[in-house]
Amino acid sequence: MEIQYVLDTFFALFAMTLIIFMVPGFAMLEAGLVRTKNVTSVLTVNVMIYAIASLSFLLIGYEIAFGSWEYQSKMSQWAFFLFQMAFVGKVVNIVSGGVSERSRILPLALFTIVVGAFIYPLIVNLTWGANSLSETVFDISGLSDLAGSTVIHSTGGWSLLAAILIMGPRSGRYREGKVKVIPASNIPLVTLGALLLWIGWFGFNGGSVGSISTKESADAVALTILNTNTAGLAGAISGWLLTYYRYKKFDITMILNGALGGLVAITAGPDKYDIYTPILIGAIGGALVIWAVPLFDKFKMDDPVGALSVHLVNGIWGTLAVGIFIDKVSIWSQLKAIVGVAVIVFPISYFVIYTINHFFTLRANDEEQFDGIDSVECGMDAYPEFRRGL
């Protein structure tokens, strides 16, 4: 027994460490996708999110989610906490990425506290955790979601949707019915960030199996990581083929977004599939991204990093997929949980962001956006010595 305790603790710490690589992962991805004049503020927001969301979860959120610090005894409670804590910031990252290049930092920090201390813990409570609403109509604990297609990615996605509706697009983005293209400023950073996220996903999903200390659980962990990776591969390839088919060019930002879409889609059930199904799930995930990115633009929902397409659309798809491909999992429980999370998270987020916005103005005005959030909010250029071209 002791040896299992030790092994599962060690494994949770290993998985947690991989997830923390997602902090630089998100930071580099987003810093690469925005214009140089907004890079410092995007990085500041990313660091701030990790700090604030994690501390909020430590002080308040964890007990809301799991009832008490003694929630489990099969591994070190500190390791279990660390693993859970590693998730929190991701939810806010989804939001901050999608509203970047126009959002002020302080109000985002306030929203981070609310998500880290309350909104995310509440969803965890209802799904993976203490399940305080069990046997009420809000009982969505029938959800089968290994590592958070719904709990993390859709939650972040719905919050982001609320934020985008309240904040509106970047100034100048939609003019006279046309979409103004705003290219990424640093493709190596985008690539580095996406690949770090990919690696982090091994910890995210693998660690969510919760144990590695028996033959069965070791197999489950290995299968989970294998399937996670496969879905990423398939998402990249489908994103690649589809953009190439349409434009005869290779668009690496779409390839990487396709991979991330596949990774989100597999997240609900990587331990349950055989080793070939993830190819299909990931490929559809990648295709959904390619299809959704221009769609959101059509509705003038401006999302510089494609977070809605990656996280919300594929969070839903991935959760449904478990119901579709796995006999034992009811697609209705899945649907119920998807809808349940939507009707909880979206209105609460809308209300919170609306309120914050009322007092602190989330959106930088047009002139500030023209000058760049960096100069207004940080007073610091990301690349002061590199001359910016026209």
């Binding site: 023209f370 100069s375 940080c378 007073g379 610091m380 250029d381 910016r388 026209l390």
Partner: protein
């Protein structure tokens, strides 16, 4: 033939270019410069110390026109579309050009424009 050199605020370049094209000016050369003038630079922060960036990014447009008609059209287009009314809008300088050659065709002067 005359050369127009205009120093303008960078975020006006699109508008000014569109206006010039509309006025029938077909060619221009643009470059990034830094300006020093009455407009004050903005202050930046670094590790607890504030400092002022004195040179302000500007865009320089160079247009060579063949006659006074186009000269006035160009000047007006720039004046109108580069103006914000706030300090730092920039200046227009006009000078003389003796000869113009289009490299591709060896055409000279008016024909080269």
């Amino acid at each position: 033939m005359k050369k127009i050199e205009a120093i303008i605020k960078p975020f006006k370049i699109e508008d000014v270019k569109d206006a010039l094209v509309e006025a029938g000016i077909e060619g221009m050369t643009v470059s990034e410069v830094k300006g020093y003038g009455r407009q004050q630079g903005h202050s930046e922060l670094y590790r607890g110390a504030e400092y002022v960036v004195e040179f302000i990014p500007k865009v320089k447009i160079e247009i060579v026109v063949s006659n006074d008609h186009y000269l006035e059209l160009a000047i007006n287009a720039i004046k109108e579309h580069a103006k914000t009314g706030k300090i730092g809008d920039g200046k227009i300088f006009i000078s003389d050009i003796e000869r113009v050659i289009r490299i591709r065709t060896d055409e000279e002067n008016e024909e080269a424009l």
